[in-house]
Amino acid sequence: MSKASPTTLNELEQDALTELVNLGVSKAALSLREMTGEQVLLSVPSVDLIARTRAIETLGRNEPNRLVAVHQVFDGDIHGRALLIFPETRSLELVRAVTSGNLPLEDILELEHEALAETGNIILNGCLATIANLLQRTLMISLPEILRGDSASLFSLPPPPEAGDFVLFVYINFSLRERDIQGYIALLMDLPSLEALKTLLGEFIQRTAGDPPLPSNA
């Protein structure tokens, strides 16, 4: 059964999750377009489920500089943290992209916090709510917070994580007003939540395909 390897997703689950995330991000892009009145493209080249320590390592290698993150907690059948992460330097670009016209740097700096929070909220909510909706579950999502730091600090928020935490690591390309910004969505979950997610994904696959999922050991 699928329980054989709870720390990984099988190919079908992986595909289903990637599709869900893509739908969620598309929904977010639509929201951003409604907000800014500009064409917004969000795409998800890949989705990885990796261990928290590996996520820290990978992110640390890809982005050696300081990072800025929009942080929200979700709670429901699955619970965990959602992070939208950018290199700190690119975050201003993101703010510029979503704010209209040419605001002075001082305004951008001032707006950064709220604008980032609101924009991040749209993207993260788009993903989480879309996933929850499609999985026919309800998720309670907290208001967004802005965090700064390196990958280790972002993935080590209190309360201390339990051993074996997993990170659903989503690369995200963000294109707006001729600006291309690469960032990451990270969903931190503990093992029970991951198992719940797998179960939900299985149900989703069954519903969508109309067939019971094939046992992995069949």
Binding site: K27, L105, E114, A115, E118, A129
Partner: protein, 799 residues
Amino acid sequence: MLDATQKDLPWTLFDTVDLGVALLDCDRRVVAWNAWLAFATAISREAAIGRRFEDLFPAGSVKHVALAVTASLESGTSRLLSQSLHPKLLPLKTRSGQDMVHDATVRAVDYPPARYCLIQVFDVSVAVKRERLLRERQNARYDAVVDSAPDVILTLDDEDIIQFANPAADRQFGYAAKELIGRPAALLFEDRAAWNETRRAVLDGDAVRQPVEVRARRKDGSATYLEVSLSRWVSQSRVLITAILRDVNERRVAQEILRASESQFRTLAQAMPNHVWTARPDGQLDWFNERVYEYSGMKPGTLDGEGWGSLVHPDDISTATEHWRAALAAGAPYEAQFRIRSADGAYRWHLARAFPTRGAQDAIVRWVGSNTDIEDQKVAAQTLADVNATLEQRVSQRTSQLTQAEEALRQSQKMEAVGQLTGGIAHDFNNLLQGILGALDIIKRRIAEGRIGDLDRFLNGALDSANRAATLTHRLLAFSRRQPVDPRPLDLNELIGTVDELLRRSLGENIDLRVAAGEDLWLVRCDGNQLENALLNLAINARDAMPNGGTVTIDTANTVFDARQARRRDVSAGEYVCLRVSDTGVGMPPNVKARAFDPFYTTKPIGKGTGLGLSMIYGFVRQSDGSVLIDSEPGKGSSIEICLPRYRGDAVGAPVQEFSGDNRAEANEVVLIVEDEAVVRLLVVETLNDLGYQALETADSAAALRILQSSQRVDLLVSDIGLPGLNGRQLADAARVTRPGLKVLFVTGYAEDAAGSAFLEPGMEIVIKPFTMEALASKIREMIEGGRARIRPGKEWSD
């Protein structure tokens, strides 16, 4: 949990909380609307309940909230709507009626089976207003500086992305701020690596960096030079860099011009063969071209300041320094000559010159000078001076030699003429002697026979012959006399008269001499002797041109030359006296005529002439501002015309007229005769005694001096010049020691004595042998009476 009495408490709380709360059902209709929201929207709960949320407000004014509501109800998403991105989310007023600055959240509330949407609104007016105030206060100052700054001010993040650009950036680069913002600043610069290196140095090291100059590209592609100052700062943990870019194009152009000018100067200075140097306004030398170091063998740097002084010759240093100080003080060009030591230790003369260059306010900023080697000039000048001195000496030497040679030549010319005359004269002389000797012979015989009745005829004949002989010798001697060139006023006719006899003798019997003297002839001024010589030469030439006899015509006339005539003769127009000597001889062919005045040109056989005659005449006449013309054709004779300028003045030194008055002594006047020739002494004494003078006689000067030193009355001393012991002149000098006013008449047979008339002092005169007794008597009378007049001054007044 709440009990029954508390069941309305949530609603009380609902209306008490300090935020706006509205709950919408799945059809977006308001199901809950708290008091806060009723106040802020001025829409009562009663008016709101049951109506769709967006219908409560003017159409489209709450679009963002409506969208969030839709998303929330459809997807269960929650939204944060912040005032920073949505300035007027909802039309809300504070209690005081001000626009309320607010944030909002929109959330799905799942209350199965239904889903609701919760809208919460937060008043953030106070915080936002405070922030805005703070920022405006800061920005006012900041903008005043940054917006009006002439320099480009960019704010960059730590990845070189431009976050801010002031208006000067647009002016400098041509890019609007919105074109720059979001792009790497490095794109602006030509050397991006250097730019990034500088930028990183600021990010990692010193927070402030010294300005560096960079080349940037404007939007139109043109290059611009900027001086970049970078400083690092931190805002909300974000590292930023402020870059100030100053336009230095003008400065650079000025520097380029200066550099080019400086380089031009250096090149020129190095290319010069001269020493070139510069000095500071205080006079300290600070630069020398290579020539200086090559010449002096000194090392660069050793000559700066006062160092150059060590090269100047110790004897010249004070002058050089003095001139230099004076030039510095006056700001006037410097010029001095001094010797500079070369590498081999030798000093060479140099001419140093320097000019000040002036900067702002005309102040001297530098001196530029050069030293030119003038050693060769100096040496040449010295040599020239030496040569000149020698030359002058040699010229004067040669001139004196030439003068002597000319003098000798003139004399030899005369001698030549005399020699040519001798033949004819000897013949004449023999005739005259024959007459005298014959007459004396007859007289002697008749006296011996006692036949003395008819002697006068023979005596007169002898005297006549002797007189003619005397005249002839006198003229000959006078002619051959050595006399210096002595121009004096002359009457040409008179001069022709005096040489007439000589001419006739020299021309010979078969040549007829005709003299046509012009009337009232003007005077001329020239040397009489030379003119006589010329006349004789011309006469002899004429004679030689007429070997078979003919006629020589001498004519004189006053003439006035007009410009044309004067030009033909190469003289000034004006009044002239012309003397023409014409012959009827063979004439001259043109080639001979053309060369007639050339020295040593002669047509005569060897030994017959020097060829100098005409050239001497030409030289003498030209010296006297006159002209000589030859008119001659073969077979038609020759005519030589000499023209001399008219002299406006009186004749002086005219020949002494013969004295024919009463020469007898008056009051026993005493005449002392000193003559070693007994016959002459006898004749003179006899004559004087006959005339009533008391004549004292001595044969030598010693006896004469004894008489003169005694108290014996002596009215006149008549003395031969050539005497044994003291000569006549020395005797006169000795006598005048005791008798200062003594009158002296010298008698001499030597023409040379007469030529030295300059040796005569006042009261001295001279007569030349042979003389007639009558001529002597009149001379003695004249002198004694002249002296008497002088020693009796009162007489003229009393007359």
